[in-house]
Point group: C2
Chain length 288, copies 2
């Protein structure tokens, strides 16, 4: 398969996602893209082991010609095509919650990484394509689970001329119910302070706690192309300062959780960092 | 002149700046770099008019081979070498305050843009070099004027293990006196929310108003290489939301002020956007 069918699929995803992000058409299109991307990386690319500098994690990369994909976590990427197909059928039928949180996390990780790796290994779209795809994927999961589509801006200046601020996804579950602010990033690095700052603005406009902030991140790995070493870029002390002084996020869900962030749940100010699959377990408590 | 002497001068600037940013050695080195960069762009490059889409502003670019420098404001860049030399002598002697705010702004704009254009038109250092040079230039101006060198981090977690947060420049003028938080950017775009968020953290740690936030920006122009059109990227409604809900900046100084930001001083929440030269006029009031 050349890159073209995948690029076309991606365009079709954008079309159906803009029409109705929570729809089963989007589930179907995401599954189709996953199958195509998976077939591409497993049949047209070579698997290259990387030098993991991250304790207790092994990473590999899909390689094609001179191109090397971003690092892929060995323990999270599903390589068994039949297992993947079985998971995808459950995903399409909207029954993800019947899986364990680990299984859900592995499936979503594989859906995200198959497409990212396929775009890394060929030239599909622009630099933003993997990030936008990941936004559609996560936005769809939450929209389908919550039964409501998100907005991508909020009103801010209420007394004078109305103005709106572009944000990541915000979900309004209806009058008197919890609302969600859902930033989605393939990785955070030094740009993450924007997430807390947007939460601060939303708290200021709508009242503290009105919107629960839930950050969803794919991974924090960084690959050195020369040495093929994989490291995780984490800034836990800065996160603690943001959570103390800028705003409070309710959850940070990762597909590939960095250990240095996972431990933040146990120290003040107790940032709850978990695997994404946990959302399906604690959803009802979160949106109660 | 090839790029090498300028690259060497830049390395020497880093050395003297790290030793003592407020020193006359740094003034001398910045003047020397300005002279060399000015000679390079005016003798080895061709001046190309650009298509300005910004009302009442004309822009040109220095061109060498296939390289085109960033847009330069016609009305701000000093092209008269003798005038520039006279200004530089005054700058080196530490007597900038004898000039008008317009004259100061034009000199600093020329010092910044000569180096940026020279690095754009050749390959000097990495992508960050112009930004780092601009930080040294502005950091030096404030340090020399205030008589104190800045820090580049602040302590944040005071009860448990101490930790520090990397920031832009912070100036401590001594016990019971105003302190300054001075972020410096060649342009801001969507990353500017970091500035307000850092101010928020500093307010939270040290008390609201303890540090006055002063943002210094070179320009907001963007050049389309194909059409040679210059536009200004401004997000005034977002700035108003940041100033209302994240933190309050005391001043935003520009070398090339966008009109759409200058008018923010007249509407709630009244962000004071001015030309950099004004700092020399109102300095005593600001640090009182």
């Amino acid at each position: 398969m050349s890159g073209e069918p995948l690029a076309r699929q991606y365009q079709e995803l954008k079309t159906v996602a803009k029409r109705d992000l929570k729809s089963t058409e989007v589930s179907a299109k995401l599954s189709e893209i996953t199958r195509d991307a998976f077939t591409f990386v497993t049949s047209k690319c070579r698997k290259k082991e990387l030098v993991s500098m991250v304790p207790d994690k092994a990473y590999f990369s899909f390689n094609r010609g001179t191109k090397l994909s971003r690092p892929i976590n060995d323990a999270l990427f599903i390589v068994d095509q039949r297992l993947l197909e079985r998971y995808l059928v459950t995903f399409q039928s909207g029954q993800l919650a019947t899986f364990s949180s680990d299984e859900i996390t592995r499936l979503i990780y594989t859906m995200a990484m198959a497409f990212c790796a396929a775009t890394d290994a060929q030239k599909i779209g622009d630099k933003k394509t993997p990030g936008t795809y990941f936004e559609y994927l996560i936005g769809h999961l939450f929209a389908r689970e919550l039964g409501v589509n998100p907005q991508k801006e909020i009103e801010v200046l209420r007394l004078d001329t109305p103005a709106s601020l572009p944000t990541d996804f915000v979900f309004d579950l209806g009058p008197d119910r919890t609302k969600l602010h859902l930033p989605v990033k393939t990785s955070t690095r030094e740009r993450v302070i924007q997430v807390w700052a947007h939460q601060r603005i939303i708290d200021g406009v709508y009242g503290a706690g009105r919107f629960k902030g839930i950050l969803v991140v794919l991974t924090e790995t960084k690959l050195d192309l020369k040495s093929r070493q994989v490291v995780e870029i984490c800034l836990p002390e800065q996160w603690r300062a943001y959570q103390m002084f800028v705003a409070q996020l309710e959850r940070v869900y990762y597909l590939d959780v960095p250990r240095r962030y996972a431990v933040l749940a146990g120290v003040y100010p107790n940032i709850q960092v978990k695997i994404l699959g946990e959302f399906y377990i604690e959803k009802n408590r979160l949106i109660a």
